[in-house]
Amino acid sequence: MHGAMRELAQRFADLVAHRELLWTLALREIQVRYRQAILGVAWAILQPVALMTVFTIFFGWFLRVPSEGAPYPIFAYSALLPWLFFAASLSGGVSSLTSNAALVGKVAFPRAVLPLAAMLAAALDFLVGAAAFAVLLAVYGVGPTRQLLYLPLLFLIQVLFTAGLVLFLAALNVAYRDVRHVLPLLTQLWMFATPVIYPLSVVPEPYRFWAWLNPMGGLIDGYRRVVVHGTPPDPAALGLAACISLALLLGAFRYFTRAEGEFADII
């Protein structure tokens, strides 16, 4: 057990030593994505804005989904932004090893860099989208509160959780390509299971605990409270999400480092 931990620490140090590669690959991802696109980085804003508009029309206006007193557009956007970061990390990260097969097969470097770079690229999109959100909040007259100080913590937990999931699924996808096919469906279902369109408060009490077991649920509820309502996140939900995320990341990283020795052979 002690040896296993040391091995894990060694791999982690390896990863840290390659942080420049991580950054460069994330940059490549961004550069390539927006090159030869007229709107360029504006796409990082357009996507959440378009979804927000659709959700506002259908769920806010037609279906009158309760939004806890907040204007539905910012209610939706506050959840869509972290959700899209999560979904984009998954779709980019899970196939990052197989789509860079030439690299994995020909060059030695810590393989975890690839899925993490995909996540980092998604995070940069998230930041751009967040800047647009600031404008939207100002338009709706929602001012900043001290609660915004919780944002880095929420973001950190989300990054830990996403990293764990992306590492695990990316490694699994090398051996079993089914993962890639299941993923879009899984992401879609997951979004409905997470309070993105609706507030967490509409989930009936007996199921509330199960909703919290979904770290994305607790996190998105937290983002919404902090940004839209100006109230602190639920400490129990946040603590649970943090514990699950850490455990997942540790397990996933262990699984990944054990599997990565064979990537070059089977990819």
């Binding site: 390539v32 090159r35 994995v104 051996a175 079993y176 089914d178 064979e262 990819i267």
Partner: protein
């Protein structure tokens, strides 16, 4: 510097991907106990079997062998791309693996962006790449194109850029896989030159190449892999010679079917000896030394007017020959066992590896009594002073040298008349 100890590497023959469905059905059909033993046709494939190799600091080792013999697999293990199934591998020092030039290059990015990307992939710090950018660009000769997307580059430019980035790392260990087979001759020369520089700085080199002259010139030692196992390991010249002989013996004989009809095995070679001017048996010759080929044969029946041909071949094809069909020295009749000798005087060959092909034609000069087959090989030693080659550039030019050397002189004449 490099230690490879009894390394085995297994690949699953039935490829790579197992879908979840296969795993699930396998598990369901045998919920307890071990999974199915591999079925027929999916047996393990051992790409390397019990390979050991020690490379000391500053040494250059070439890996030779036919396709599929495990050369690239060994290199990948050394680079740490893949792990050995059994055994141990230790490589000390910063590795530059030139297994694939320009790995990670992206066509949409500019040359400059790709230099940084590729450098980061090879483990070069950004600051160091920035410092060496000019040097890299100059070596790759892509200056005017540096800020164009890579998809606008010619393939030669891409390869040059890839080599330039990889070679700019001050690596202590260089792993190269057929890197020099890409690009034009001039570029290859410059690559060799750059490798020599790195070696002078003390770099250790492991080189996989199908170009035996390159291995022979560049490496002190060679490892010959055959079906994943070590067939020979030792001084480069010896290993290459042995490999060449083996490779040529197993080469497919021409036209075997039609040959049988014409009786192409009526004369059988029993043994061959190569002798130098002093009458000693050897496989190492010097420039302008005499070469005697002695062929011991057995005739299966009485053969009328057989015509022997001995051809010396090298890298690119036939170089010179002795043919009784040309010189007319055919015997009237041969029977039973015997020996024939042909003496070549003062072979004018460049340093390199050569082989001797023998064939015997029937009385009509068309049909074969013995099909062409390789009967011997030899090397001509690479002492450049024997040739009077004193130029600094001579060593780098050797792989490109034409096989036959005719003595020559250069002279410049002042133009005696104005050209009006």
């Amino acid at each position: 510097m490099i230690a490879v100890e009894q390394v085995w590497k297994r690949y699953r023959r039935r490829g790579s991907y197992r879908t979840l469905r296969e795993v699930v059905t396998e598990r369901l059909s045998r919920p307890f106990g071990r999974p199915d033993p591999p079925r027929r046709g999916e047996e393990d494939f051992w790409a390397l079997r019990d390979v050991s190799l020690e490379v000391t600091r500053g040494e250059a080792v070439g890996i030779v062998g036919p396709n599929g013999s495990g050369k690239t697999t060994l290199l990948k293990l050394l680079a740490g791309i893949s792990l050995p199934t059994r055994g141990r591998i230790a490589v000390r020092g910063r590795i530059a693996s030139l297994i694939e030039l320009g790995a990670g290059f992206h066509p949409e990015l500019t040359g400059r962006e790709n230099v940084f990307l590729n450098g980061a992939i090879l483990g070069l710090p950004r600051a160091e790449i920035r410092r060496r950018l000019d040097e890299i660009v100059a070596f790759a000769e892509v200056g005017p194109f540096l800020d164009l997307p890579l998809k606008r580059y010619s393939s030669g430019m891409v390869v040059r850029l890839g080599f330039a980035v990889a070679a700019s790392a001050d690596a202590q260990v260089l792993l190269m896989d057929e890197v020099l087979s890409v690009g034009d001759a001039r570029f290859q020369q410059r690559c060799l030159g750059r490798m020599r520089e790195l070696r002078q700085k003390g770099a250790t080199v492991v080189l996989v190449s199908h170009s035996l002259p390159t291995v022979g010139l560049f490496c002190e030692r060679a490892l010959w892999l055959q079906r994943g196992g070590v067939a020979a390991c030792g001084p480069a010249g010896e290993v290459i010679g042995a490999y060449q002989r083996e490779a040529l013996w197993t080469e497919r004989r021409p036209d075997e079917k039609s040959g049988r009809a014409q009786g192409g095995d009526l004369l059988v070679v029993e043994g061959v000896r190569l002798l130098n001017g002093a009458g000693e048996e050897t496989q190492q010759f010097l420039y302008r030394e005499d070469l005697q080929v002695r062929l011991a044969y057995t005739c299966r029946e009485r053969l009328m007017r057989p015509a022997f041909t001995l051809t010396v071949r090298g890298g690119e094809g036939r170089i010179f020959q002795a043919s009784m069909l040309l010189d007319g020295s055919r015997p009237d009749c041969l029977e039973g066992p015997g020996e024939v000798e042909c003496a070549f005087r003062g072979i004018p060959l460049a340093p390199g590896s050569y082989h001797v092909v023998a064939s015997v034609r029937a009385a009509d000069g068309v049909g074969y009594l013995m099909f062409p087959q390789v009967v011997g090989y030899f090397t001509v030693a690479a002492d450049l002073l024997n040739y009077g080659w004193t130029a600094e550039t001579a060593p780098a030019c050797l792989p490109e040298v034409a096989p036959v050397i005719v003595s020559h002189e250069w002279r410049f004449h002042a133009r005696s008349r104005a050209s009006i």
